[in-house]
């Protein structure tokens, strides 16, 4: 794993009116790694994601993805996206959705490959509305990977899934990692961060309060202990 930086938030502040979502955050994503952005709801994870996807502009600081500004279309061609608040049209089939999104990219993965990674072969011809919650998540994941991205951004991808589905999803992510892409995963599930990440960045109230490999963060306890300690510590500092 080399240390080339694929995406970066450089001293980024993001405010929405009086609210500060991100406060002078610096975050690097290195090639080939899976970085988990861990934090409770409202910590600023989604804001960070939106900035990296070019869906929002920083109030201060600089965002760069694959060498450029993600608000420009040219720098989004190698990025795949799975957002939390998405739905796709009910009346199109799984394969049709994938074909459509693939057309947005220059060198998409073949349909069969996408279906394989996302375990959707059997559901190829189903209409989206005929799928269960977990199956729908897999389709959204498929749409994220179909462009054969160098950078994959997954915003809370397993919310609402049951334990078995979540585990299965981790398997899909692992399969995707085999292609060598870099993954940014946001989550508030500690176990998920622990299981998947090469590095974890803990974010709370707009600040990155810890960053490092899972073992480094855990220290001698569980991730949960570490997390609670860190976030409480943060509270004390603020108070």
């Amino acid at each position: 794993m080399n240390n080339e930086v694929v995406a970066q938030l450089q001293d980024v502040t993001k405010t929405y009116g009086p609210t500060t979502a991100l406060d002078a955050v610096t975050l690097d994503l290195r090639r080939g790694e899976l970085l988990a952005l861990l934090g409770p709801n409202g910590a600023g994870k989604t804001s960070a994601v939106r900035l990296l996807l070019g869906l929002a502009s920083p109030t201060a600081g600089r965002v760069s993805v694959l060498g450029g500004d993600p608000r420009e279309e040219a720098f989004r061609t190698r990025t795949g996206v799975m957002l939390q608040t998405s739905a796709v049209p009910d009346t199109l089939r799984v394969s049709e959705h994938i074909t459509l999104f693939s057309s947005y990219y220059e060198n998409p993965l073949p349909l069969a490959e996408v279906l394989r990674i996302a375990r959707l072969e059997a559901l190829k011809t189903r209409l989206f509305r005929q799928l269960s919650g977990g199956e729908k998540q897999r389709v959204l994941f498929a749409l994220a990977i179909c462009g054969n991205p160098d950078l994959l951004v997954l915003d809370e991808p397993t919310v609402g899934l049951d334990v078995a589905a979540r585990r299965a999803f981790w398997g899909e992510i692992a399969r995707m990692r085999q292609t060598g892409c870099t993954i940014l995963l946001t989550t508030h599930y500690l176990a998920e961060a622990d299981a998947l990440a090469d590095r974890i960045a803990v974010i709370d109230r707009g600040r990155v309060i810890a960053e490092g490999s899972p073992s480094l963060i855990k220290g001698h306890g569980t991730l949960e202990d570490a997390f609670l300690a860190l976030t409480q510590h943060e509270e004390e500092c603020v108070a």
Binding site: Y16, R50, L53, G54, L55, A56, S57, E73, A74, R76, T77, T79, V81, L83, T85, S86, A87, V88, P89, D90, T91, L92, E96, T99, L100, F101, S103, Y104, Y105, E106, L127, L143, G147
Partner: protein, 258 residues
Amino acid sequence: MNTFQRRSRLVWTESRYEILKHLRTPAFIVPTLTFPVLFYLFFGVAMGGRGMGSGATMSVYLIATYGAFGVIGTALSSFGVSLALERGQGLLQLKQATPMPLYAYIFAKLASATLFSSIVTIALFVMGTAFGGAQLDVSQFAMLFATLVVGTIPFALLGLTVGYVVSAEAAVAVINVLYLPMGFLSGLWVPIDFMPAMVKQIATFLPAFHFGQLALSVIDMPIRGHAALHAVALIGFSLIFLATAIAAYRFDRRKNYA
């Protein structure tokens, strides 16, 4: 595949699925396509002997006005309702995070609106000729068809304006509040000549009125005022709604993508 080919493929794929998606949605197809045709069968053919009288003339007149009404409906729902729903769903956001260019999205909606407008128009032509005793020649049908299709533009832009501003839940209601009264007050349901003077005054401020008059002029029906000025009015409305659509787009961008 070079960039131009790829981009064309992209636009074509986006359009194709946009249309397919609607075709499989009965809640969209049914009102958009059947209401104008049903209205026509009811007023134009069944009641042909009344109102305007002389079956032939009334049924021809109504082909133009219900055609305009139907086309406005497809434009407003393809651009207005559809866009608002997709914004609410987060689909637009998802697509905008990909390299999909915005023009492909708009073009697909335009293609979809045009296709459904064409279907409504042809259905009305067939109804009119088969049941309404209309006797228009081919060039008149062609001119009417072209006028109806091109005249969609201001309404597509109006739809875009509404689609970028209203929430998904409110979209259908807002569009209907715009669409139905405007259609009625513009003389697209009941010929404008039968409406009270007050309505005739109001109508001149409504794009649907000018659209209807232009469509009527193209098939030699008597209209109020010169056809050319109605075309000018539609161009004026197109400019206004282009400005509002761009403003609405920016408003949405600022609000959700700041």
